[in-house]
Symmetry: D3
């Protein structure tokens, strides 16, 4: 039976043979107590991750030695159940050529529709009137080869927005929340425009800090320098290219990018020193925290308890009823 | 020359005599080095506070002994300047009968229009459909003698929303911010309704925690028990009066009120354990922090530096240019 | 050989068959490397917990699917030793009817004698003279259906007083310590009476926060609202029922309950604002910390080192010699 | 009119001349705006401190140049009132010979009766049976020239027990609280004896750390090394003089002294690693905190508010009603 | 009597008239109680600061209105003494033309000899062999208009190295300490060279963050962006100009600059992730802390106590004897 | 094939039989899933640690029951590879008599040459001129039976300098770093000499706090009292034996020993209150941190990633390239 997405495998499939296409997210060679080698894998596609075993390592040694992380494969496997969770016993496994499959279809992706997200970007871009600010956004986001990356990169390594278009979705959330506050509190036109520009750019350098999906994790540059510095650096260099860029705008936008983590202990080298920068900071946390709770609760949906386990970045468990 | 509001006094009035009506916000009897008693006063109206001196204490001893804090008075005074700030030398001072003057016109007041704020309340109330939740809001806010207090009390003692209608304005801001997040993240109808109810009620007990304006400061009950406990207590008792109130709604709304400060060290005895409660918490900080920066920057407007002084609750100075 | 209490099993029983009655505290189905299912259990009675295995899961599948946590069972088992600790290989296992066995005899219980504890309660009750305070204690503890729960519930989920009568024993310790301080420091009669009342009531709501033994863990209400809020809430409602209850006593007793964890970061929404409340707070820690060290040292008694392992809530290991 | 104690001066004395004997606690030469020198003094006796002025510095220049801190003087002065507080305008001031006055009668003193405190010491001493422990107490406290100092020194520089016999009173409180806990929790005889010895010795080195009253403040040795090190050092040396001193007792008693502040950040170089040491630590805080609240509330008695000011070491204000 | 440096004024000058040249570090117009305006000044030169008064403000109103901060003036004044400190009563005060006086001679300056400091820079520069690193130092420090600023700017606003050549002296200290560690621990040639380059550049951006002496305080750019970001930004741009710059060297040097405060809470947006970066961090603290203690102790030299006051950044007082 | 050091075993030896001599660092009896007992060992010599298995426990039960930790053994074993790491399958294992092997050759040892380290000690000793200080060093380090221990003990239990001569190497590093700072900052002769003495003595009591190698871990005295107290105690007693020891030197040296961890929360009961003590503190951290990074990076050398794992005491991973 061909399974379209891993999430479609359910208890009814137990003891049946299924076929599926997935990425090898992780793989380890292990030893049974009787000293026989087997392969312990994690498979994933856009819908979920699942554990799998392959018991005859010795027969397919060459194949597994050549396997890379994030390699797409096709499998035939028996569905089993172990301590309440489904797992697969792989019978056949083969490489798939990159051209035969869209890797993106095997990787977690925002459930927001991409075209409407791009329209959202345009909507906020249009609210910026002053030419030097428009030019800054053009150069950093729209008119350059950055656009593709900006629209596909994740916004985090784990916990929240760690999927295709994650950065784009996060930026739109931040723009929306920040804009609501700004209109409610009747910020001036200049403040409003700067706030929009800062929201666009605050996490921009995540396209340098993270590896390109389906790979996950930090680049060396990302680990050593971080997106806060990299983003302010790129923005300052772009500003310097724009003739007559207003000096106060420059200082305020850069301070907003540097300060968007809100406190020194969270990695901002300076504190946010304008009301725009403080709004950006709070909108950023709001977006990250809410998404991390929602995605965590989705993961914990199957389990029976009335509370989830503890979500480490929130420091508490969550109530699942209601 | 009759001055309508204290904020209208300016450098052009120096050495002139003005007349005005104000509240006596503070008063101390002091001694000159030559051991003569004088009176050091702070006067205030809705527009600002100003220092004043009255040099002949001995002649008006009885009058000043009888003066209470927040007493409205009419004065004649010479305008002076001392270390860059304006101050008054009072020549004549008399009591005003409470009936001759609207004390509210002498007390700081929200610059949001009251009727449109009340419409705002109604707007969000109408989004709540389930009857037991509507009844809860009716009893706590609309259909009771609470309504008047809810619409006039301040939301803080200092820093932010510490003025007439401050609680009302703050609740509307929180409702607006929280609602934007909830629709953006597609919360369920039940979550949305609970979030609205929690936002309405989270600071409700400030009508018990604070004294009624123009008096400021905590009631004894407020100091000893705090609005977090008092609000959850009153809400739970009201819920118990409503037949068939959903149990999950009860736990989630109470947890939201108890947890809205977000962390134990900020006075929440339990952490927010639903996504609604976390949204409420962040919307609450957003409202408080942004208002405290804006009102602080207004205070610092006159001064010449490019940065304000340090705003204690934010831990930093703010940039005034741009 | 019939074993009366699990603690009586010792190294002399190794390789012998024993019979015993115990609760199933925990149970997991696991897989041997050869993919055979077995059952990994934790058994407990009032005296201790012990690990046990049952190797033929397939033969008793139905039995184990029906097993609940805290189910009393009778077993026949071979005693073994694994990495220095005793463990059981179960040969036979059967349900026991609840009527055949007193579950309490299988659950950890205070080693203080229950009747003398009840006399202790009475002793301190008699020190309270003012009628409204006596009525408060009557309603909350003595004259209601609360009394049974108050006398049997645990005072914690783990670490200290987490056994039958644990709350009662803890309250008596707190009363005793607080009373010693109050007499030493010559507190007034009013202060003394309030301190006694606060000590009686400070953890009262643990009868709502915890499940009833032998079940352990929090109720949903307990997780979401916590015993600090619940206790102050119930106390305030009871006070409101008592005509002419002194207002200062009300505020002080409620502040004492709300503040008994001593610091905001430990879950008190307000700080203790009277000397009575501070004494209560310190007596509460004294009772909890001392009991947690003593019970931890008892657990570690068998091991050979001169120090225990680290006790997590104290942050240090303890010296076992001397 | 001769005033026996400064606390007896009241509003009825305003504008009258009083005579009194007091210590000069502090003195500064100041300048009036008209550039005339005057003397600003703080006078104190056992009952309270009071501000005083002497306006003709030039006439008594030699006298004031010779005045030392804690010098006893006799004064004639006019009682005045300034911003609600009483103050003295000194007309005559003269030295008193140390032999004419008991300086102790001019210094704050424990209100516990000295002979009954000494009996208290004896009472707990008698509970220690094992000879090497008795010898340790004999050498450190009873049989040496330490006894006088131990019975007269303060236990702190400010906040609590900062008066004659303060150390003695504090040690008795700690003994009493610790003993109550130890009997309640049925500690072994050996634990009990060690706990008593540790309570006797924990603050012993305050007789080295502080200056002798009426002087206040730290000795150089006290500032540089602290009573925690000095006390453990002296105790270890005394133990080494006692033949056959049990080694576990040695380690446990020294750990108790070193650990009695309970946490590294409060100056204990090691944590308390026995139950005795933890009891000592909590009894020590209980004694210090309760005394600091009580003495602070006494100071604040006169003021009209329902709350005291904030007590810095407790981080909160206290409720004065009830 | 002409006084060469303010530090030369001593008690023998009291009541004499002196002449001196100094900068006006601070100035306030104040009111005597009799409502007469006077001027309260702080004068400074390289040797110290001293308080001064000018009593006839009205006569020299125009002069004082025109006075700027850090204006050099010549004065005639009577030396007085007030509460143990010397102060001046100014009789005559006049502007000095900037050309008549070297402002640097009136500003605090490093007591290290400037030429030997420049030799020190050269000494460490010569230890760097690899051309791309030499070029980086050439462009950032030696071959550009930065050299003059680098050699004259302060390294802090207060506490340590807050004087002419302060940055230069601090960098030399850091180089010396770091080099000692590197040779002791036998770092590789590559590590050593990178460490030297990082030490040269770590505080480089203080020439952008601070105002040019004799002005003190932050530039707007400095307050909003900070020297950590600015320094890494300038370094990265310079590196990009150098062909074939080794990529690992780039990441490590930039990480060293970004991480030199050692912890996020001290303003480093990333942690130091190489041994070179950690050595730099510790050498930087060593230099700052030691200098701040030494300069603080010099300030406190005159006072009689055996301890200084508390040095805020060290959290303690220091022992002056020995 | 006889292997000289465990570090010489490499992938070329896989499936071959090797012979070696090593210490048994750790040993556990475990069960295969088929319930057969085997032995899981960690072997170590001066060069590295390696995992080993012995599968026939039952045949050599007596031998393994008698094995102590740090026992030297000779083995014959087959080299295997498991999850990328080498491990041994032991075929033969026998005790070695202590006289046949130098245990030190099997224990990690400083790679600094011992004779040159001893010369280093002498070098700094010779810089101390004043006789009472020389006598102190003579008694504490050179002229007593302490010398051997001082030169062989480790300076830590893990992380840094946890090897033979570790204390000696650490003290020399601290002396060198501190001396560089002292000469750079032109400390007085007296300060310099005290700093050298303090550096010699600061960790002296580690010879009491740790067990003698090859045993590792704390003595009971070390756990209960700590090297900070023990070191200051021994130093004070030695000072008291030296006639005419300068009192300021005494206080400063003892404060330096007590304060060398720099902050209360790191176990110093008093803060460093002289510039010498602060230099000592920073030199101590510099030595410990740098050594812990270098030794950690050596351990992680084999692995392929560009970053190490996280080093717990530094809170970060380290970059391995460059």
């Amino acid at each position: 039976m061909l399974i379209k997405q891993l999430i479609n495998i359910n208890k009814d499939h137990v003891n049946q043979i299924i076929e599926a296409i997935a990425l090898v997210a992780d793989m380890k060679i292990k030893l049974t107590k009787s000293e026989k080698k087997y392969v312990d894998l994690v498979l994933q596609d856009a819908s979920k991750q699942i554990d799998a075993k392959f018991w005859d390592y010795d027969e397919k040694q060459e194949f597994f030695k050549g396997l890379k992380s994030n390699q797409p494969v096709s499998i035939k496997a028996v569905v089993g159940e172990y301590q309440g969770a489904l797992q697969l016993t792989i019978k056949e496994i083969d490489l798939i050529n990159d051209t035969e499959v869209d890797i993106r279809s095997l990787t977690p992706t925002s459930d927001w529709e991409i075209e409407s997200m791009k329209k959202g970007l345009q909507y906020f871009y249009d609210k910026v009137q002053r030419p030097h600010l428009k030019t800054l956004l053009d150069k950093m986001i729209f008119a350059t080869d950055h656009y593709e990356k900006f629209c596909t990169y994740p916004a985090a390594r784990r916990v929240h927005h760690n999927f295709y278009h994650g950065l784009l979705q996060h930026v739109l959330e931040v723009l929306k929340y920040a804009y609501t506050v700004a209109t409610t509190k009747k910020l001036s036109e200049r403040q409003m425009e700067r706030l929009i520009v800062m929201a666009f750019l605050h996490d921009w350098a995540k396209i340098w800090e993270y590896k390109q999906l389906p790979e996950t994790g930090f680049t060396e540059e990302g680990s050593m320098l971080g997106h806060i510095f990299l983003g302010a650096h790129a923005t300052l260099n772009t500003i310097e290219e724009i003739e007559g860029f207003d000096n106060d705008d420059k200082l305020i936008i850069l301070n907003g990018i540097l300060g968007h983590h809100g406190k020194l202990e969270f990695g901002s080298p300076v504190l946010p020193k304008t009301v725009e920068a403080q709004i950006l900071h709070h909108a950023d946390i709001m977006s990250g925290d809410v998404e991390s709770i929602l995605s965590f609760m989705k993961e914990e949906e199957g389990k029976e308890d009335s509370f989830t386990g503890k979500l480490w970045n929130m420091g508490t468990e969550f109530y699942k009823k209601g």
